[in-house]
C-alpha cells in the first residue's frame, strides 16, 4: 500500500507539468486546467494499483484526462464558455508567432471538446489516429472526421490561418 502510494506520488511529480500542458490546451484556462489535472489524479489514485500493474500508466491517465474533460463539458457545458487568458488581446494580423498562437487559442476554445481533444492528441501529442481513437474510446474513422471537422471549423473561425491549417487530416 505504501509502495503504491510512493509510486503514485513519483508519477504525479513527474507528469504534472506535461498533463497540465494538455489540460490547458483542452480547457484554455489555467484554473480549469488545474482542476482537470487534479480530478484526473484523484480518479487515477483510486485504481492506481491496477493501473501501475499494467505497466505504463500514461495511456490510462491520458484517457481519464480526456474523458473527464468531455464529461465536464457534457455536465455543465462550462468549457464552451471558457475565458481565454489571451482572448481579449488584439489579434495580430501579421500572423507572427504570438499572433498565430492567440488566434489558435481563441479558435480552439470554440471547438466542440471532442474535436479539440482530437486535434490536441494528433498535433500536440503527436499520436497516431489509432492511438487517438483508443484514448477517446471511438473508432479511427470517428477520429478522422473529428480532426477534419475540427480543422474546417478552425478555418471558418480564423480564415487568416488558412495556410497554417492546410494539413492532412
Amino acid at each position: 500500500m505504501e509502495a503504491d502510494r510512493a509510486s503514485f506520488e513519483v508519477y504525479v511529480q513527474a507528469r504534472t507539468a506535461a498533463l497540465s500542458r494538455v489540460a490547458y490546451l483542452l480547457t484554455g484556462d489555467h484554473h480549469l486546467a488545474e482542476d482537470l489535472v487534479q480530478q484526473t489524479f484523484l480518479r487515477v489514485a483510486g485504481v492506481w494499483q491496477r493501473v501501475a500493474a499494467q505497466g505504463d500508466p500514461d495511456p490510462y491517465v491520458r484517457r481519464v484526462l480526456y474523458h473527464q474533460h468531455v464529461s465536464w463539458w457534457r455536465q455543465a457545458r462550462r468549457l464552451t464558455q471558457v475565458s481565454l487568458s489571451g482572448a481579449d488581446r488584439p489579434v495580430d494580423d501579421r500572423a507572427d508567432q504570438i499572433g498565430v498562437t492567440l488566434v489558435v487559442q481563441r479558435a480552439l476554445a470554440k471547438l466542440a471538446p471532442k474535436q479539440r481533444a482530437a486535434l490536441v492528441l494528433r498535433y500536440f501529442e503527436d499520436l497516431t489516429e489509432a492511438q487517438t481513437a483508443e484514448i477517446l474510446g471511438c473508432r479511427v474513422g470517428t477520429v478522422k472526421s473529428q480532426v477534419r471537422d475540427g480543422l474546417a471549423r478552425l478555418r471558418q473561425l480564423a480564415p487568416e490561418l488558412a495556410d497554417l491549417l492546410e494539413v492532412k487530416a
Binding site: V44, S85, Q97
Partner: protein, 474 residues
C-alpha cells in the same frame, strides 16, 4: 510542413500553461472516493435486486383469478413465490386451492428467522406465504389444508403463533380468510376429517417419537377433544391415517398392522397384517364407497442399504383390502407409481386417483440401522409431482409445480377441480427468474444491511475524528 506549424503553435500555446498544484492528499482522497463509489454502486445493485420482488409483490400484481369464483379450481401451474410475497398473516388471501412446500425459495432463510416459506395459492388466484420457523412438509405430517381449503393446520411454529412455553403438544389452526391462528391442545395434526369440522391430532410419546401416540379427534370450532382407542406400534411418519369418505371410520396403519376405528362408537379392530413393503396409500386410501382401502405394495429396494438410484426406482403398486374382512380384493387397476414414496390424496368422481409421487434428494441413502429414516421427510425428499392415475393405466400430471417443490397438498374437496388458470406467462417468467437468484437475493439483502451499517458507522467515526481534530487545533 504545415502540420509541423500547427504542432509548433500548439506547443507554444501549451508552454503558456502553469503546472497544476496537486493537493498532497490526492492519494487519500482518491482512494476514499473510489471506496465510496464502489460501495454506492454495490448498494444500488443490491437495492435493485431487493426492490424488484418487493415492488412486484407490493403492487398488487397478482395471479389471474379463476373465471368462476363460485367453483374454485386448482391452477394448472404454480410459479415460485416472490421474495417479499405477502404472508397469510399479513394479508390473508382466503381459502386455498393448493399448498406447496419445498426447498430454495420455498425454504426461506434463517437470516430472517423463517426457514419454511410454503406457498399457498388461493382459490381467488392469490399467492401467499405460510412461514414456519423450520423447514416443513405439506401433507406428510407438516402443514395440512382442510377439505374446503379454508383452514391450515400445523405445529405452533407457523407465523402468528407461539410455541407453548409449557412444552404441551398443540396444533395451530390458521383461518386463511382472516389470518387468525388458534392454538388447541391435544397434539400435532395428522389428518383432517372429511367434514372439515374436526381434525385428527396425535400426542406423541417423547422418547418414542416414531410410535403412534395418543390419538384424539379435535373439534376445531369448540376445541373439544375426543380420545380415540389406543393403537400400539411404530408408524410411518406423515402417512398412517385415513378417514373414510363419510367420516365414520378411520384407518390407522402401523408398520405391521392396519386398524380401523369406528368413530361412532369408538370401536376398533385390527383389519390386516402389513408387511414391511406395505403402506396405507395415503389420506385418500379409502375408496369413495367405503368398501375398500387402498394399500401400496413396494417393489424395489425397501431393505437397507438403498442408494439414491434404488430409492428413485421403487414401484408403488396399488392393492386393495376389503374394509370389512381385511382380505385382498379387486379395485381400479392403476399403473404403479415410481419413486421414493407415493401418497394418495384421494379419488375423483370418475375413479381416477390423485397421487403425490416423491423422488429422493440427491445422494439420499437409506442406511442399515437408521431407525429414524422416513421416506417422506423434508431431508429425504428431493422432488414431487402431483399425478392423476387413471383406471385405464395412464398417468397425467395435474399441476406443474416449481422446480423447488418437495411437497404438495390439495384440499380434499378440490380433487376434482384441476386445470384452472395460472398467472400470466410474463408474471410466471418473472417469478421463475427471481427464484433463480433467490439465494443471491437473500445474501444480497444481508450485504445491503451490512453495507449501510458500515457506511453509517464509518461516517460517524470520521465525523467524530474530525471533531476531535478541530477541538485539538482550537
Amino acid at each position: 510542413m504545415t502540420e509541423t506549424r500547427l504542432t509548433a503553435v500548439l506547443t507554444a500555446l501549451a508552454e503558456q500553461s502553469r503546472p497544476a498544484t496537486i493537493d498532497p492528499a490526492t492519494w487519500r482522497k482518491g482512494k476514499r472516493r473510489r471506496r465510496i463509489r464502489v460501495v454506492t454502486a454495490v448498494a444500488a445493485v443490491l437495492m435493485v435486486i431487493a426492490a424488484g420482488p418487493l415492488l412486484l409483490s407490493g403492487s398488487g400484481w397478482q395471479s389471474m383469478p379463476p373465471a368462476d369464483q363460485q367453483r374454485p379450481i386448482v391452477p394448472s401451474r404454480v410459479y415460485p413465490p416472490l421474495t417479499g410475497e405477502d404472508t397469510i398473516v399479513e394479508a390473508p388471501g382466503g381459502p386455498a386451492a393448493i399448498l406447496v412446500a419445498g426447498d430454495r425459495e420455498l425454504r426461506g432463510s434463517d437470516i430472517w428467522g423463517w426457514e419454511g416459506r410454503s406457498l399457498i395459492v388461493g382459490q381467488n388466484g392469490s399467492y401467499r406465504l405460510a412461514r414456519t420457523v423450520g423447514e416443513t412438509t405439506a401433507g406428510a405430517g407438516g402443514l395440512l389444508l382442510s377439505p374446503d381449503g379454508r383452514y391450515l393446520a400445523g405445529m405452533p411454529w407457523i407465523e402468528g403463533t407461539h410455541w407453548p412455553s409449557s412444552g404441551e403438544q398443540q396444533v395451530a389452526i390458521v383461518d386463511l380468510s382472516t389470518g387468525k391462528a388458534v392454538l388447541h391442545s391435544g397434539g400435532g395434526p395428522v389428518a383432517w376429517a372429511p367434514d372439515g369440522r374436526s381434525i385428527l391430532v396425535e400426542e406423541s410419546v417423547p422418547d418414542r417419537p416414531q410410535w403412534v401416540g395418543s390419538l384424539r379427534l379435535l373439534d376445531v370450532q369448540t376445541g373439544e377433544l375426543r380420545q380415540l382407542p389406543p393403537v400400539n406400534g411404530r408408524a410411518r411418519a406423515g402417512n398412517y391415517a385415513a378417514f373414510s369418505a363419510d367420516g365414520a371410520r378411520l384407518a390407522i396403519a402401523t408398520e405391521t398392522d392396519l386398524y380401523v376405528i369406528g368413530l361412532g362408537d369408538s370401536s376398533w379392530r385390527k383389519l390386516a397384517t402389513l408387511s414391511s413393503r406395505d403402506r396405507i396409500a395415503g389420506p385418500g386410501a379409502w375408496l369413495p364407497d367405503g368398501s375398500r382401502i387402498a394399500v401400496y405394495y413396494i417393489g424395489g429396494c425397501e431393505e437397507p442399504p438403498c442408494d439414491e438410484t434404488q430409492l428413485s426406482q421403487r414401484l408403488f403398486q396399488v392393492e386393495y383390502l376389503d374394509a370389512q374382512t381385511g382380505q385382498p380384493t379387486a379395485g381400479p387397476q392403476l399403473a404403479p407409481a415410481m419413486g421414493l414414496a407415493a401418497r394418495m390424496l384421494g379419488w375423483q368422481r370418475d375413479g381416477d386417483a390423485v397421487v403425490a409421487v416423491y423422488s429422493p434428494e440427491m445422494d439420499a441413502v437409506r442406511r442399515t440401522g437408521d431407525t429414524y429414516w422416513s421416506e417422506t421427510d423434508w431431508w429425504t425428499v428431493g422432488g414431487v409431482e402431483l399425478l392423476e392415475f387413471r383406471a385405464d393405466g395412464s398417468r397425467h400430471r395435474l399441476v406443474e409445480l416449481p422446480a423447488s417443490a418437495l411437497f404438495v397438498e390439495v384440499p380434499a374437496d378440490l380433487l376434482d377441480r384441476f386445470g384452472g388458470p395460472s398467472p400470466t406467462v410474463f408474471e410466471g417468467a418473472v417469478r421463475i427468474v427471481l427464484a433463480v437468484y433467490w439465494p443471491v437475493g437473500q445474501v444480497g439483502e444481508l450485504c445491503l444491511v451490512i453495507v449501510i451499517a458500515s457506511v453509517v458507522t464509518g461516517w460517524r467515526r470520521r465525523r467524530r475524528r474530525q471533531r476531535n481534530v478541530t477541538g485539538n487545533e482550537v
